[in-house]
Symmetry: C2
Subunit: 305 residues, 2 copies
């Protein structure tokens, strides 16, 4: 039994649901990313995107699309496009002028392998490609869905979304943020694209009742914050090998985190509370097919990397 009183999927059921979707995403990314790009640019783009990451954002797109009966081709393209935005943000985040990180998912970061200029351009090209994937020629995806998906992605990625959150993060090093300020930073930096993934999945379906859309947004917002709270916890308790990136770097760089603000137990309680909020929002949505969304929420809070 879960916090909301319903049985939720076990790990095997989530795996059976997600594995074929993950395979489609990997195959599509491999087909679409960096192909026909000149010189090393394509290699750098593919290095940044392929064979890495949990693909949480694509899974959220598929789960939300499933909840609303969304169109498969639109969901696949939306799933890949949010992953491209995520990947570009990591490439730029790792640059020496930002976090100066040399390890990502256990591999050298893109600028270590392709140079700073190469990483800069690969990130830029990945962002453009995200919008290109959403606007294919032909009739497979209606213009209205294409335009909706572009609108949601642009807002999630831009100055009032992910990029804005990164700017707050940059400006906050060494500052004593309070919980409201920390929450606002993460709502933008990580939350906007996670919430955007849910909204884009919902946009793959027919027009939703406003109540259902609002509930999915609430689910996405709670999930986005929960993800970051757990990230902060893992940064403290996990080692670099499990994490696939440098552990303990928040404390080392004097960045405010949920753990530094609430303590480890407080942060854990916060994560459970956000999970409960996300599940409660799904209950209110009156959407029938929310099993995958529920399972992903549990996975985010219970993950160990």
């Amino acid at each position: 039994m879960t916090v909301d009183g319903t049985l939720h999927w076990d790990a095997a059921r989530l795996a059976a649901w997600s594995e074929p979707k993950l395979s489609r995403v990997e195959a599509a990314l491999s087909e679409w990313v960096g192909v026909d790009a000149p010189v090393q640019l394509g290699d750098a783009m593919r290095y940044a995107v392929l064979d890495g990451g949990k693909r949480l954002r694509p899974m959220l797109v598929f789960a939300a699309s499933e909840a609303v009966g969304g169109q498969a081709e639109a969901a696949l393209r939306a799933a890949c496009s949010v992953e491209l935005i995520h990947a570009y943000s990591l490439v730029h985040d790792d640059l020496p002028c930002m976090d100066n990180d040399v390890l990502r998912r256990g591999k050298p970061t893109v600028h270590v392998k392709f140079g700073e200029a190469g990483a800069l351009l690969a990130g830029d090209a990945l962002q453009a490609l995200a919008f290109e994937l959403l606007t294919p020629d032909g009739e497979a995806i209606s213009p209205a869905v294409q335009a909706n998906l572009c609108r949601l992605l642009a807002r999630a990625a831009g100055s009032q979304g992910m990029a804005g959150g990164q700017a707050i993060d940059l400006a906050s090093v060494g500052l004593a943020l309070d919980e409201a300020q920390l929450r606002e930073m993460h709502r933008l930096k990580t939350g906007a694209l996670l919430q955007g993934s849910v909204e884009m999945g919902a946009a793959c379906g027919e027009a939703l009742a406003p109540g259902a859309l609002g509930a999915l947004r609430e689910y996405g917002a709670a999930m986005g914050l929960a993800f970051q709270v757990v990230d902060d916890i893992l940064d403290v308790i996990a080692d670099s090998e499990t994490l696939g990136k440098t552990a303990g770097k928040d404390a080392a760089s004097d960045k405010p985190t949920y753990v530094s603000l609430l303590g480890l137990d407080g942060a854990r309680a916060q994560a459970r509370e956000l999970l409960a909020q996300a599940l409660a929002a799904l209950d209110r949505s009156t959407l029938a097919d929310t099993g995958a969304l529920r399972a992903l929420a549990h996975m985010v809070v219970d993950r160990d990397r």
Copy 2:
């Protein structure tokens, strides 16, 4: 009389045509760029975009839209969006890991003023904003036009457009490119967004006859190359003050240019030839209202900065 045998607009007529449009672009950019962005990010975005540049790309959008009877609101948004892509590319191009330039339009470059990380994020956010501008809520621009504009912009900006050209440029320093290779680099680096501007202007109208669209594309391609040839000429013959950026830097950085390849007279002849091609394409288009497109083509080739 011009090369194509028609009278073309004099400077006063072009100014009378362009000035109200430039005012609308400046007002719209000021209203849309960096507003409500957190901390310094909005300031850096506005610094990168406002009060600077010739706004050639927006003018091309308006001129092409006029030629096809395009919709005004779509043209304004398309005009601003191509300028945002252009502005972001300059911000990233000027970074120390790329051209390491400290002067742009006579002012300190964005990273000099806002730091490298600030410039990186401002560029990233400007790219996202370009797509956000193209996808407003409401009914003012049809979903089909929104999706078309996003498609054209993404292709022009991405790995098979501007970013791809920058990657070739980066890889070509110190290499002896032949004319075909140099042309390919510029076709992508500068040409793709100029051509994209023309295509986006055309996409603000009703569906065009394929012949007219093909002719506008040809015009855009020739204009894009002509722009770069003239840029190379100006880099040699103009001083930094007139240019508003560091002159002579191509030779200093050992970059191949049309002047190093064809000589100054050869490059000038090339520019005239491309102008003739652009005008001939308009003749073939059978579009009635190509006065502004013709005048802009002349302006690009005859400019002194």
